[in-house]
């Protein structure tokens, strides 16, 4: 079996959010460490899409940034094509690695430099990596990229503010594809878009994946979009992975109580007037997470063990994993 293109092995990220040194000394405040990601492991096979879902504060955006090298991990390793990516980003071959991994961001208004023309924006990776140096060739390549996302040569000299949200997201995609990467990390790419525009962008992304054999890590909080886009789905809560399964299995037989709650919380479109089953409580403060299993205060199946002991990650034969005492003990 060929090895997966991307492997995350027990990655963790802690941020120091302590008050400034002077305040700490004068007011005797302690150091504060925010554990945004707490030991997450997953694989992504070439050409596949892994989706990471969860609510705010679950750490999925941090995982995305860890994978592209915007942050360094506090612990754990990221392997890309068998090689250590962290080391790769620091080494002399960093540029070669960056050519193969790219990212698409959530906010279509902040992800393009408002003072640059579309030509400069999409052409920057090409000139940065010296893939195309001659001006005319560069322009032609940019036009090619724009056409692949449904825009055209007439957009070359325009500025971002002259485009709609959906079009800007397409420009972001064109920019990400400039270096012909193999792996694309997509951080909530359609969350800020209207439904009909979202449909256009998601269709483009699927077409591109089929045409170029791209591998996606797709971050989202929208389960319906995830169902449409992914092959496998990972559910995160407060920095930990609680369940990871092939899409069909996850939606048909969700095992972890949080996954079930997420699915129940989605409004049923066709059964109008029917209220959802509301989830109890709210996501706790990540600076002060609950002991044991971080979901236990909101879980209807929690027992004493759940409050004391962090559940272990258990993988079954099909590669689906879940971290839950109730599942492990057969109570669920």
């Amino acid at each position: 079996m060929t090895q997966p293109l991307v492997q995350a092995i027990q990655i963790a990220k802690r941020f120091d959010v302590s008050p400034p040194w002077l305040n700490r000394v004068l007011e005797r405040k302690p150091r504060l460490l925010l554990t945004a990601v707490d030991g997450v492991s997953f694989d992504i096979e070439r050409g596949q899409t892994l989706a990471l879902v969860g609510e705010s504060g679950c750490g999925k955006s941090t995982v995305a940034r860890l994978l592209v090298g915007l942050y360094g991990t506090s612990q754990g390793r990221v392997l890309f094509d068998g090689q250590d990516a962290q080391a790769g980003f620091q080494s002399a071959q960093a540029q070669a690695l960056r050519r193969r991994i790219q990212m698409i961001f959530q906010d279509p208004y902040a992800s393009l430099n408002p003072r640059w023309t579309v030509q400069d924006i999409v052409g920057e990776p090409l000139s940065e990596h010296r893939l195309v140096t001659e001006r005319d060739a560069l322009q032609q390549r940019v036009v090619q990229l724009l056409k692949s996302v449904g825009l055209g040569a007439q957009d070359l000299l325009r500025y971002p503010h002259q485009f709609s949200g959906g079009q800007r997201q397409r420009i972001s995609i064109a920019r990400a594809l400039a270096t012909e990467p193999e792996f694309l990390v997509c951080d909530e790419p359609t969350s800020a878009l209207d439904v009909s525009v979202q449909a256009q962008v998601l269709n483009i992304m699927k077409d591109l994946q089929a045409a170029r054999g791209l591998t996606y890590l797709f971050i989202s909080h929208n389960m319906a979009v995830v169902r449409h886009m992914s092959d496998r789905v990972g559910v995160m809560y407060l920095g930990r992975l609680v369940e990871l399964a092939p899409k069909k299995a996850l939606f048909a037989r969700p095992r972890h109580p949080y996954t079930r709650m997420l699915l129940d919380a989605i409004p049923k479109m066709r059964q109008t007037g029917q209220a959802r089953v509301p989830v109890q409580g709210e996501v706790p403060n990540p600076l002060n997470p609950p002991t044991g299993c971080s979901f236990h205060p909101r879980c209807p199946h929690a027992n004493a063990r759940c409050a004391a002991e962090r559940p272990a990650w258990q993988v079954d034969d099909e590669g689906a994993g879940v971290a839950c005492h109730a599942v492990q003990e057969g109570r669920l």
Binding site: A199, Q200, K206, A224, L262, R270, T272, G273, V277
Partner: protein, 322 residues
């Protein structure tokens, strides 16, 4: 009799490109105690409709034509002075961002009491008692203590509950809620929507729920109005509009939403984008993007019947071509 009647509302913005019509002959009714959803994509004008009704249009935007009637009295031509006792007492408002809806410098209790005493003749202590009761109703634990907390001491979902309490404080007959759950997590959304629905039923307030999320509309509203390019494209009972949409735009919208319960290779996409205000097509605003458009669509603008019973502003429907 309808609680709220909007008739041929026109909102315009003078700009350097000429006068832009952001709302073009919008009409609908809300019955007492009813929940009407106003759904549409960005730029459709749904937030503007809410702002126009409350009288919070930002200049240079202004109501250029049309009428708004609340409980049989006209409110669109009132001055800010005359509108003030109306706002809060008859119409309550809930906005999208709970962070900026509350004044960070005052406690939650102070803001509640101020609103209550502005509109209802009450002493300080009875207003405070009422405020605590409201907070308890919105599900805030330990309301008697938390009433003296500042907004930053509440989480996002809790803050939105406080905002709902504020909106209901003076027992209004109509609540205008503009994207009340968009900034919240999906699990909290369900809580807040359920709360809003329940409280409005209990207090007898009608709700105008503005959102872009069809799912929220499906589970909350009695009727829904679909807006496109500053006009109402379709209006009717929510069950009918969602399951048997009459307007091609609504159909396209419903088809473009990824469904949690089924799988499709490609999502249906409506080609093109909503027209900009300075480039609204003649006739039906949707016709350039409509797969079923015919000659009349580009020439004449189709109208909704007045009163908005259950109609689509579409020649296909009006001519019975469906």
């Amino acid at each position: 009799m309808s609680l709220l009647q909007v008739r041929n509302l026109v909102v315009e913005f003078p700009s350097r490109h000429g006068v832009l019509r952001a709302l073009d002959q919008v009409s609908f009714d809300i019955a007492p105690g009813e929940i009407l959803g106003v759904v549409g994509e960005s730029g459709a004008g749904k937030s503007l409709t809410g702002a126009a009704i409350i009288g919070l249009l930002e200049p240079p935007g202004r109501i250029a034509a049309g009428e708004v009637w609340l409980q049989g009295e006209r409110i669109d031509n009132l001055s800010q002075q005359q509108l003030r006792p109306l706002r809060g007492r008859k119409i309550g408002a809930i906005f999208q961002d709970p962070l900026t809806s509350l004044n960070p410098l005052y406690t939650v209790g102070q803001q509640l009491v101020e609103t209550i005493r502005t509109h209802l003749p009450m002493s300080n202590s009875s207003a405070r008692a009422r405020a605590i009761a409201l907070l308890e109703e919105t599900g805030i634990p330990a309301a008697a203590q938390r009433i003296d907390h500042y907004p930053h001491q509440f989480s996002g979902g809790m803050r939105q509950r406080v905002v709902i309490a504020l909106a209901l404080a003076a027992e209004p007959v109509l609540i205008v809620a503009d994207e009340p759950t968009t900034a919240l997590d999906v699990s909290i959304q369900a809580q807040i929507i359920g709360l809003l629905k329940r409280l409005c039923r209990d207090h007898g307030a009608a709700v105008m729920l503005i959102t872009h999320d069809m799912g929220v509309i499906a589970e909350t509203c009695d009727r829904v109005a679909v807006m496109y390019a500053g006009r109402v494209a379709e209006i009717g009972p929510v069950h009918r509009v969602i399951n048997q949409p009459a307007h091609p735009y609504t159909r396209g919208l419903m088809a473009a939403i990824p469904d949690i319960d089924s799988e499709r290779e490609r999502l249906y996409q409506i080609d093109g984008a909503m027209p900009r205000l300075n480039a609204i097509p003649s006739g039906c605003a949707f016709h350039p993007r409509c797969p079923q458009a015919f000659e009349r669509c580009g020439l004449e603008r189709p109208e909704l019947t007045a009163g908005g019973a259950g109609q689509a502003a579409c020649w296909l429907a009006l001519e019975g071509r469906m």
